[in-house]
């Protein structure tokens, strides 16, 4: 029993065990330091897992020594290794970042609960990603969701609307979870197993109404969690009114994990031999993805609140991923996975910039951004670079995503879809450009609550934010760790799904 052999369990066990400890600390700095330390340990563990999987192939870990299909299996291939790296990486950046921001936005007495909830949320997200057991996915999804509801509601100290946003999120999220578990029940009825690999084997040749209904329930359930258009209504308010650090963390990870779950169920559990899957691709995922891309982008253009704008942009970006998945090809899958990671990086950085602005100005509406270049140059440039990444300018990760998506469209003989992708990016030019123009070309407000001497955000926020910005640029040039792994992961998923 060496530690290395237990490595796959660490990302779940460590934060789960560590979370209650935050309650023992004196409110203030200690819970934060503890959570940050844990986030780094987990990041190290996940990095080790990624390295191991990349070298040695799929890892199968039997929780408690119970073999599947009875026991719970943690099964890590390149696809979830990639998502693990994203989630733990974003956590390792956002947790240290959170201190000043949380101190300003949340009652200090609540800070142990806050960091505890953050750790539990992290546990849930990592658990969903790592597990190879379908019911376990549901459990961890609820762990992540319940803690998210609480975290969003904590924004109420600065803006009471956080409460309704959290309630909305709670209702929608619970409906999603219910649908998901109903779908799982139907599949269990049809196959008698809940292990994903086992499910796949036993679903072969099963093409009856029950399995189809199960599929539909699962897709809708996960669709709610990942804010698939038109089931995204919970998302804009939740992201806008949550505490800034929570927005940064959840926006970069939560919906991405849900997209991963969708991919996992489509390709690993059902597989390309399941005829209904292609119907879902062509008649649900593709149109919903495309409409989401445009609808949400257009709505984003007219937002007066930067966090809401970024939230709508997230809905649009989810549309890109769904579009990539809907091609049902290896290139499309790779594009979706690449964009999943890349979008996590850019949205994380953007929400962190918004957090810095909120920290100094106490406002996340557009007017707070007027003349920001003169007041907070580092924050401004972080926003500009990650905004350009969102647009897809070369030299950033967004460009790599766009490239993969367009290429996948052409390879799938859907050239028009490639043009829709770039057309929708041009809408991103509008909504990002609008804010950049405010920041750079307007003078700071002369009077009113936003006037006065404003200093740059503290270093403890600037450094983590710029770490993510640097990642946006670095992975825009060196794509071995993102696109390279995504390519391999897509190939593995396709072969397990029984495709080309």
């Amino acid at each position: 029993m060496t530690l290395a052999a237990q490595l796959p369990a660490l990302p779940v066990i460590v934060p789960l065990v560590a979370a209650p400890f935050t309650l023992l600390f004196k409110p203030g700095r200690a819970p934060w330091a503890w959570a940050s330390l844990i986030s780094w340990i987990i990041f190290a563990a996940c990095a080790a897992i990624v390295a191991h999987v990349a070298n040695a192939g799929v890892v199968s870990y039997h929780l408690g020594g119970w073999p599947p299909p009875i026991g719970i299996e943690y099964r890590i291939d390149l696809a979830n290794a990639l998502v693990l790296a994203l989630v733990s990486g974003v956590a390792a950046v956002v947790f240290p970042f959170a201190y000043q921001s949380v101190k300003a936005e949340i009652d200090e007495r609540q800070s142990p609960y806050f960091y505890g909830a953050m750790l539990i949320c992290l546990t849930g997200l990592l658990g969903v990603t790592i597990t190879g057991d379908a019911f376990n996915v549901f459990v961890f999804l609820e762990i992540a969701s319940l803690s998210s509801y609480a975290l969003v509601a904590m924004g109420a100290r600065r803006d009471r609307r956080a409460l309704t946003a959290a309630f909305n999120y709670l209702v929608m999220g619970t409906i999603g979870a219910t649908f998901f578990v109903i779908g799982l029940g139907l599949l269990y009825q049809a196959t008698g197993t809940l292990n994903m690999a086992d499910l796949h084997d036993r679903l072969v040749g099963q093409d009856n109404r029950m399995v189809e209904a199960g599929f539909a329930f699962i897709m809708i359930g996960i669709g709610l969690k990942l804010a698939m258009f038109p089931m995204h209504l919970w998302l804009p308010n939740a992201y806008a009114y949550a505490p800034s650090a929570v927005s940064a963390f959840i926006a970069a990870t939560s919906t991405k994990v849900a997209v991963y779950v969708l991919i996992r169920f489509f390709f690993t559990v059902f597989g390309l031999d399941f005829p209904f899957l292609h119907v879902a691709f062509a008649w649900t995922l593709l149109p919903v993805g495309v409409i989401g891309m445009f609808f949400a982008s257009i709505v984003a253009v007219f937002q007066e609140d930067v966090k809401r704008m970024l939230a709508y942009s997230s809905v649009a970006q989810i549309g890109y991923m769904l579009l990539g998945v809907s091609f049902g090809t290896q290139e499309g899958l790779a594009a979706a996975l690449v964009h999943l990671v890349n979008h996590g990086l850019m949205k994380g950085a953007l929400f962190m910039a918004a957090a810095c602005v909120f920290f100094r100005l106490g406002d996340h509406r557009c007017r707070a951004y007027e003349g920001l270049a003169r007041r907070m140059p580092f924050t401004t440039w972080a926003f500009i670079i990650s905004g350009l990444s969102l647009v897809g300018v070369p030299g950033t990760v967004g460009f790599i995503s766009k490239w993969y998506l367009i290429e996948a469209s052409i390879e799938a003989h859907r050239v028009w879809a490639g043009f829709l992708v770039v057309l929708s990016s041009l809408l991103a030019v509008v909504y990002v450009g609008r804010i950049i123009e405010l920041m750079v070309l307007r003078p700071p407000p002369k009077d009113g609550p936003l006037a006065g001497e404003i200093r740059e955000a503290p270093l403890s926020m600037i450094i983590p934010m710029w770490a993510l910005v640097a990642a946006n640029v670095y992975f825009g040039f060196r794509t071995g760790l993102t696109a390279g792994l995504a390519d391999q992961a897509a190939a593995a998923l396709m072969s397990s799904a029984g495709g080309g």
Partner: protein, 502 residues
């Protein structure tokens, strides 16, 4: 002498070092401008060493790293890129002296930001010139767009903001909306985006043949910097920038990067023969012809001198596009020649316009009546450059017209010759009209329109030129336009490999 393999990446890196030096020397204007000039000198030496190596038959190339499999950041020099590199870096140096004179003379603000953005722009122009594949070219093309936005919006007022929006909107819109899909499509067909002598797509005729027309149209309109109508509106809008920006970026680096890309794509991605056999270039050829005439017609109606020059640029750029689309070796040579000749002439015209603004605070052509007697040197340079654009020997501008006409005849497109002739006549009207009024008409008394005043000798006592740094650079470039006429043969030999497919 430095090896050309090293010079290629250094040409991109040196201006970036200059960028940081300028930033660091923010508080010391003289040292800051010294950094700009030093960077310019080093860069010119680098590009000349590359040029010489290419003239000697070498094709230096440097591979940095793969971004995506089959899509590396890589540089290599061939005649077209080497020529563009020398033209851009040489004129940048001249323009840097001019910038110092202009920016100080006009008392502009935020000069450090101005020089910093300039350094990034020239770095990315070098990247465009020496790109070994479309992917690398596209990256630097976009950086060039973004780095010039702060220059266009330099004044920061409402007009600058509006123009900045149009500038960015058109350039990003075309490049992301059309250029990028075209590159990805090419990559999907050919599995790479390398510039290959004879044409990359010519090797994949089966897949590329049916879509050649669509792809070429995507490229022609996607490279918005080539300002083919109707994607030209960014260029007149860019004229709100300080004149050195208009002179260098919007007469040389940015627009030439556009037409350079068009030429490069025609020669190395499609291949001249492939274009000729598929006839894919025909529709674009008509658009280019229409662009030449229409832009000239608009230019005639513009009273603002810089706006007039901008539309003239739109017209002249389409010469290059036309040369590429003729799909004949002479057409390509004419297009390449036009890049150099038009750069020299147009930068002179813009620098003169700036000198007139600094010296006499006049922007409109109608206000320049008689001004030639106050600023004879400036208007003299203006006249020479205008004559070069018109295409009169012995000025550089006569060669591209000559070569393009031969190319048009070779390709059997005789109407194109008529377009070129008509364009020359229009050039006479809207360009030579300016110095004619300035020299022959007496200065208008304030508030009174004078008409038909007879010729008078110049009263040298009244001469009041702009500062030396504003006047000397246009004189130099005008002289360059004259000299280039006599060095046509070496340049033609240098470009000869292009005709053979690179």
């Amino acid at each position: 002498m430095i090896s050309p393999e090293l010079a290629l990446p250094l040409a991109v890196v040196v201006p970036l070092i200059g960028f940081f030096a300028i930033w660091a020397l923010d508080k010391h204007p003289n040292l800051r401008e010294g950094a700009t000039i030093l960077t310019g000198v080093i860069l010119l030496i680098l590009t000349i060493s590359v040029f010489e190596a290419v003239a000697g038959g070498a094709r230096p190339s440097v591979f940095a790293f793969d971004v995506i499999v089959g899509l590396p950041i890589a540089f290599s020099a061939e005649p077209l890129g080497a020529l563009f590199g020398v033209v851009a870096s040489g004129l940048w140096l001249v323009n840097s002296f001019y910038s110092i004179g202009y920016m100080r003379g006009a008392g502009e603000k935020n000069q450090t930001r101005f020089y910093m953005a300039f350094a990034v722009a020239i770095s990315s122009a070098m990247g465009v010139a020496y790109a070994q594949n479309l992917f690398t070219l596209f990256i630097f093309y976009e950086i060039l767009t973004l780095s010039t936005v702060p220059l266009v919006t330099h004044k920061g007022d409402d007009a600058a903001r509006r123009s900045g929006r149009i500038y960015l909107g058109v350039l990003l819109g075309t490049s992301i909306g059309l250029f990028l899909p075209a590159i990805v499509w090419t990559y999907a067909i050919a599995g790479s985006s390398d510039f290959v002598p004879g044409g990359l797509l010519a090797r994949h005729v089966d897949q590329a043949g049916p879509v050649a027309g669509v792809l070429l149209a995507l490229y022609a309109f996607g490279v918005g910097k080539a300002a083919l109508m109707p994607v030209h509106p960014w260029l007149p809008n860019a004229m709100v920038a300080p004149t050195p920006v208009s002179a260098f970026l919007h007469a040389v680096a940015v627009v030439k990067a556009g037409v350079f890309a068009i030429l490069k794509i025609s020669v190395y991605i499609f291949g001249v023969d492939f274009l000729a056999t598929t006839g894919a270039g025909k529709p674009i050829l008509y658009v280019a012809g229409a662009s030449i005439i229409l832009a000239s017609a608009i230019a005639m109606k513009k009273d603002n001198l810089k706006a007039r020059l901008a539309y003239s640029t739109v017209s002249q750029l389409s010469y290059v596009t036309m040369g590429a689309m003729l799909a004949s070796s002479m057409g390509v040579a004419g297009g390449a020649f036009q890049i150099a000749a038009h750069a020299l002439a147009k930068i002179t015209l813009f620098m003169c316009a700036g000198a007139i603004y600094v010296g006499a605070h006049k922007n409109n052509v109608s206000e320049m009546r008689g001004l030639g007697r106050v600023m004879p040197v400036t208007f003299g340079a203006f006249t020479i450059a205008a004559l070069s654009i018109v295409g009169l020997p012995p000025l550089a501008g006569s060669w591209p017209k000559f070569l393009l006409m031969i190319g048009a005849a070779d390709a059997g497109e005789r109407w194109a010759i008529a377009v070129l002739v008509l364009s020359s006549i229009l050039n006479v009207v809207y360009l030579l009209g300016v110095p004619a009024q300035a020299f022959y008409l007496a200065p208008a008394p304030t508030g009174v329109k004078s008409r038909g005043a007879g010729p008078e000798p110049i009263d040298w006592g009244a001469v009041k030129e702009a500062p030396l740094l504003c006047v000397l650079p246009p004189v130099l470039t005008a002289a360059g336009a004259l000299l280039l006429f006599f060095f046509a043969d070496p340049l033609f030999c240098f470009l000869a490999p292009l005709a053979g497919g690179g």
